[in-house]
Amino acid sequence: MFDALSERLRKTLGALTGHGRVSADDVDAAMREIRLALLEADVNFKVVKDFVGRVRERATGVEILESLTAGQQVVKIVNEELVALLSAGDRAFKLTGNPAIILLVGLQGSGKTTSAAKLSRHLVKMGRRPILVAADPYRPAAADQLETLGRSLDVPVYRAPAGTSVLDIAKGGMEAARKLVRDTVILDTAGRLTVDEPLMKEIADLSAAYTASETLLVVDAMTGQEAVNVAAAFHAAVPVTGLILTKIDGDARGGAALSISAVTGLPVKFLGTGEKTDALEIFHPDRLASRILGMGDVLTLIERAQETYDEKQAVKMAEKLRKNSFTLEDMLDQMEQVRKMGPMGQILELIPGMGGMAKQAQESVDRGDLKRVEAIIRSMTPAERRDPNILNAARRRRIAQGSGTRLQDVNQLVKQFGGLQKMMKQMTGGRLGRRMPGLFG
């Protein structure tokens, strides 16, 4: 996520960090790099101008130039300015009224329908009872799409017969909400161009007739310089309360979010991070800024781990580690736990310093490396899983055949597991503390 921008800034600022003292020329060079990086990240050129201006002003201060840690200070300034830009507005997700109404608006193809489904799932998790309303009567099969998604989430979907006006669809949706005792109505509207006056009037009328507690503009993270104008035009037609930034699981640098927040003051409230309906994250400006700067996002990682990790199992695992009885069976469990947290590449990206590894790891997952390990372990007998030492050549051949892998894959896994066990012995033997400086120093 936001890979390329973090890499660019890391490179520029890394060079600064390298020699400690920053000269005026260094600052100029860094600002040029930051400008190009931000432009390449699709940050609006006016926002870039302001941003670079502010960073330069703060970075060329006498104190900073005299300081030995000038490089780090420039990093800190850029980080602070990024957070400031991303911190616009009130990010609270407000649900008032009964039913509370959430109106989703945006250009065609920005991801409204998928986001509507994700939001409904998020609301169910919050303990609410949402209903989805298919208020896009134009795109062929749009209502079918929403209905399929709603069915998969067990969230009711209201759809009206052909030819029903958007206002009447909303009215029917509100009635359905009352009848089904639903406390939140999500209105999924048609994608529209800001220059399409009849359709912009339609959404304005809808918004005027039903006061939404959240009117969210769905913005594709890949949007270019127009993002600001698009947001401004929607904001002029309906009282937008925030953004959902979609498709940031690609390598788009997402400057659109920075730009819109900076120019319109609208906050990003949610991030769409994948095609599955659980791929919706609450937006945290500081985390995103750190992520942009390649400083990792440990908080998100911990949160995700807490959500998915079975506590009892964790205690059991700790016990096993202590007693040094970690087996291949346990390794399989661990892999399962990690997988529940999300795609490997995304997880690694959240860990400081692992940004570069993320792509590699995701590729290895995509290639099926983990699946192969899983298949090999699953082809072992319980006794073999407990004690790989009994794996003689015949057993290994059988396992390779059973798992559809090659003998060397099995050998490699057994060897790696042996190494892992050794490492664990050292950790639990209390020698880790002494080893740590050697490992990282």
Binding site: L36, L39, R159, K179, V195, T223, D249, D251
Partner: protein, 347 residues
Amino acid sequence: MSTEPTEVVEAGKHAGEPGATKEVEPLWHSEADELLVPPAAPVRSSESEDFTPGDLSAGLERSRGGFMSRLRGILRSGPSDADWESVEELLISGDVGGVLAIEIVEGARARKDAPSAEAAVRAELAGRLLPGEHGWRPRPAAPGQPAVVLMVGVNGTGKTTTIGKLAHVYRAEGRSVLLAAADTFRAAAIDQLRIWSDRTGCQFVAHAPGADPAAVIYDALDAAIARNVDVVIADTAGRLHTKSNLMDELAKMRRVIERRLPGSAPEVLFVLDATTGQNGLSQAKVFHETIGLTGIVLTKLDSTAKGGIVFAIEDALHIPVRLVGVGEKLGDLLPFDPDAFIDALFE
């Protein structure tokens, strides 16, 4: 090839309102079975009535905004350093990109042959576009074989809508067209394509949702060969270029086409949303590496966006823009004309 149930609908046999043959579906499911209405399948009147192709400059009218007209004003009056900086910013605001904008300005300033500053910038822009090919049509590898068009791109760029428009063009020319629903992932994508197929009088091949898209394509080619179809257009699921497993799936589709129609050179059209910023280049690069793009369709050019990323893509990859989408009507798909594109920007 496949054990999935195949649905093959011949033109005319699926007549009537889309969904008319379906059972009556619940108004909402899971809680209110007593309330029943037929599924909605409204047709936007403009899409079904007006089939006249628009003209490029009319389509672009809203798109150019103040971008090039302001640029033009600056360039007429003998630009200063500050003016050139404005030119650079204006190019950037049109999604041309920071690096390329700097290059274009430097190139224009260095030009000695241009009669004016405007002509110099125009020449720099034009130099980065491939010449247009007005009569472009997908061609079969051998007589009697169908021509194959594969639509690819990231999510939400307008692949399925573009297929509807393209099918309309070929149908209007009297060619038989078969649409292959190889987007088996997105909910209701198959239904969406079926509606377009009905509207344009195409044949239609689909499997169940979740089926192997390569199998859909294989069956579509089989059907097309058996029935002497002229053009097969395959819809594919939108996919982010960063998901290597999904990109592998795309490569497999291409292999299947080559296996079923040896020697065929399918047209692989990359559908790009004009509002896309600099990420468009990264998208195009990865798609090109994976499946070998033969052309670009630039969609939503009737928006306020300028589509300037096309310069960077053509410059880097030499893939021509074949078509531009300039509206929601069936006729709103036009051949790309680089000169007209730049002219329209300057007007």
